[in-house]
């Protein structure tokens, strides 16, 4: 099928970019300014959705802008993998934009213009990355995303904020200016191009196994946003950001950009054949299994709800990578749809954490006894999303975990089956107590009676909880895209 040439990939990026500009210009007119983000999100989602039929039919939407270097263009290509990431990001931006307004207004946060402008730019970068046709274009958006989320992390501008944001930048920039840079230069040296190629750009390249192995691991750790241990420490540090940032960016856009890049490398730079041939798949699988289990153990020990969610994210991101590197088609499908499944559920959980904080000022799980009776919608949504994280049917998490477990059996790797099951037990161990305490714990007698749901915050989190269930019941769209990637 011939690629469709269209301006739409660029338009999707531009919408968010223009939104950021509009936010800056409307600095003083808060009501109008706050309208910009949700509107832009809806337009962006519409543009992304308009390309879905072409991609579902096995085609691509291409836009080549200009040549940067011989073998490197500034170019967009919307394919199935990019579509998964872009659909999730743009769809969830709509709810997150509404949630942000509620959250920021309720807490009367400072520097809201900067916040919304950076937020919109982050989405432009995320979708730009999803639609990039080669590593060069992808890396430009990747770095823009690192930079514009930095002010969002130091948002509070207090001691904690500066410390956390410093760690954030050191990890992300450090990894990309060392490992990633080396990987890019070596890839360009070996292949003379940085394009994504079905079957792998480096497949059949004239390079030694050890060199390719070095390049591979440079990518894996260079894309620190994927948070494979030991490159994960930035993510808990980023939790100093306001909760909408943690929700959309550090559970969806930023971290998914990381695993998305890793998947691009596995599928379209190395190719499944080469990753398998060099024995890199199984090596990576062990590496990410360690991350999956270890991060879950960390999560168990955290009483701060956002910190627990952050470590849970570290663990869940590695599911996506695990699915890809098991190299069996079913596992790959599982990994890819876990991008969406985890996004819907984890954003819900973060939204809930923010809702609890807005309503009661509480951050520690041990202080949340009985809060479910005050915030039934919030904690109900939290429970539903928890089930999805654990992988209970009929939620989204069940579908992806089903494919992942089936895939590890298909790959003949029982070890990873055990990892997946053990991890699910751990998930249950650190998520279910939160709901239990919230609904059945005895409320502290001195707690104020003013704790109640905030509509602008609650509606979005209920919506994403519903999405988590809907995707569990109707996984067809994401399954079709994932199968399009695997082929």
């Amino acid at each position: 099928m011939d690629p469709v040439i269209s301006i739409r990939p660029l338009a999707a990026v531009t919408v968010a970019g223009l939104a950021a500009l509009a936010v800056l210009l409307l600095n003083k007119r808060e009501k109008l300014r706050d309208l910009v983000s949700p509107l832009a999100a809806i337009v962006m989602f519409a543009i992304v959705a308009s390309m879905a039929p072409t991609v579902l039919a096995g085609g691509t939407v291409d836009l080549r802008l200009f040549e940067i270097l011989p073998g490197i263009d500034f170019a967009f290509r919307v394919d199935a993998l990019g579509m998964v990431f872009a659909t999730v990001s743009s769809l969830l931006w709509i709810v997150a934009a509404i949630y942000s307004i509620g959250y920021m207004r309720h807490l009367n946060e400072h520097a809201q213009t900067r916040f919304f402008a950076c937020f919109a730019t982050s989405l432009a970068a995320a979708v730009g990355g999803a639609f990039s046709a080669n590593l060069f274009t992808l890396v430009i958006f990747y770095e823009v995303l690192s930079l514009v989320t930095y002010p969002l992390v130091y948002h509070h501008e207090d001691e904690e904020g500066w410390k956390g944001s410093r760690k954030y930048l050191v990890y992300l920039m450090g990894a990309s200016k060392s490992a990633l840079l080396a990987a890019l230069a070596l890839t360009y040296h070996v292949a003379g191009s940085l394009d994504f190629v079905a079957g792998g750009l480096l497949a059949g390249a004239d390079a030694s196994g050890p060199l390719l192995t070095v390049v591979y691991f440079c990518y894996l750790f260079g894309f620190a946003k994927a948070a494979v241990m030991p490159m994960h420490a930035w993510l808990p540090a980023a939790m100093v950001a306001p909760t909408p940032v943690s929700a959309l960016l550090h559970a969806v856009a930023v971290v998914k950009m990381g695993v998305f890049c890793v998947l691009r490398v596995v599928f379209h730079v190395f190719g499944v054949g080469l990753v398998g041939g060099l024995g890199l798949g199984i090596a990576t699988a062990y590496l990410v299994s360690f991350t999956i289990l270890m991060a879950s153990v960390y999560a168990l020990t955290r009483d701060d709800l956002k910190a627990r969610l952050a470590y849970s994210t570290v663990s869940q991101l590695s599911y996506v990578v695990l699915g890809a590197v098991l190299l069996s088609p079913v596992a790959m499908v599982g990994g890819i749809i876990h991008i969406a499944a985890h996004a819907f559920s984890k954003i819900t959980l973060f939204f809930c954490a923010g809702s609890i904080y807005c309503a009661s000022g509480k951050r520690n799980i041990s202080d949340m006894a009985g809060i479910g009776r005050r915030l039934p919608w919030t904690m109900g949504a939290f429970f539903v999303a928890s089930l999805s994280m654990i992988g209970v049917p009929p939620t989204a998490g069940f579908v992806s975990k089903w494919y992942l477990t089936l895939g590890s059996v298909e790959a003949g790797e029982v070890a990873f089956l055990i990892v997946l099951l053990a991890s699910s037990v751990l998930n249950a161990a650190y998520f279910l107590p939160v709901s239990y305490v919230a609904f059945f714990g005895a409320e502290a007698p001195e707690s104020p009676a003013t704790v109640r749901e905030i509509p602008l915050v609650t509606v979005p989190l209920v919506a994403t909880a519903v999405l988590s269930v809907l995707m569990g019941i109707f996984p067809g769209y994401f399954l079709a895209l994932a199968e399009g990637v695997v082929g």
Binding site: F66, I68, I140, Y142, K177, A182, A185, Y188, H189
Partner: protein
Amino acid sequence: MTVPLLSLIVFMPAAGAALLMFLRNDDAVRWTALGFTVLDFALSIVMLAGFDTTTHEMQFTERRPWVPALGITYALGVDGISALFVFLTALLGWICVLASWVAIDRKVKEFMISLLAMQALVLGVFCALDLFLFYVFWEAMLIPMYLIIGVWGGDGRVYAAFKFFLYTLAGSLLFLVGVIVLYFQGGETFDILALTAQDLPFQVQSWLFFAFLIAFAVKVPMVPVHTWLPDAHVQAPTAGSIILAGVLLKMGAYGFLRFSLPMLPEASVYYSTLMLALSALAIVYGGFLALAQDDLKKLVAYSSISHMGFVTMGIFALNLRGLEGGILQMFNHGVTTGALFLFVGLIYERTHTRSIADYGGLMKVAPVYTAFLALFTLSSMALPGTNSFVGELLVLSGGFAANFAVGAAAVLGALLGAAYLLGMYRKVALGPVSARAQFKIHDVNGREITAILPLAVFVLWVGLYPKPFLDVMDASVKHLLTQVHDRESGQ
């Protein structure tokens, strides 16, 4: 008769300098200097517009006999490599004038004369096709630079100027010896193109290579002959720093490209590993030095050493990507580091301190200034999307092809770059507003933005669409490579 465009470009600033001698009013001096440099810039654009990118031959050539008895001619011409630097020099020329507008408040006339003379001589270096003529420009340029640092510099200006002079002169003397040897070995001619076509015995090439190496390495500067640079930069006035970083350092690298590689191909290939190792050393050592600085100007100065290491690394990778990347990095370094020195100068004029520890929260006080500073900081650390990233990717790609270990060391240098640049930016621009920054800081004005904007344009232009720049040099670089490799393998 065709217009002698290159002569016009070279002597336009000189004519301006001559005219300045008759002016008395400081403002008239400034405007006249600006007029001539802008005119020169316009001429350089005319030159680039008429430049034929399909050939490696010298273009806009002019030849007039000068001292026929000794075979000395007045010969000018540009190829794809020098054309870029003529353009860069002309661009930075008027930016330097703007940068000195209020910063230089005494002996304005003398300063502008030195600046314009300087520009004329540097342009002469890049255009000369006669070795003797080249040497004259190369040496004469020391005098105005010495004056710029020694008269209008900071408190330690005399020491710095003297050190600069001594280092460069020592290198130049060896260069002179090399020139004389070349003259006799190459058939008693000073014609650079004719000398390039000579096949010298390897023994002679080796001696010449090291004579040239010391001369050029001082200019670049390469470790361990770099120590004059931080002193010179810290003491020089802003315009002096811009021209020093922007074009003077380029002359060393240009020397490698114009003399060492094409005239001494076998020696260049033979000693390339040594050169790559020295480059890697400069990248890493310069990076560590920059990391340790509290003085803004020193930080940028040491970063220059690291960045020029990328340039020499690209050149001595001796492959297409490396060379093109190295030359592109020369241009990028001129733009970006020139801009950073300008920024240090702008803030120093306001606060009279260069200590990073005195700053903080500038973003709240001078948002436009800090926004542009962010752009150039990111450019200097080679963020994807900016000019330096394209150059760095090419250099590393070429470097890895030449020598894996050297490439890996350079990556470490890139990491260091991110560390000291982002650290500097965070301390200066973000955080609570420091006591120093709270009063008397006004944001950049129209004149300053005029100087900044073109540099900002080049950061993004080269970063996203470097093709026109690579097209200019492409034919010449490919030709240079055949000169090096064909003759090296033909022996």
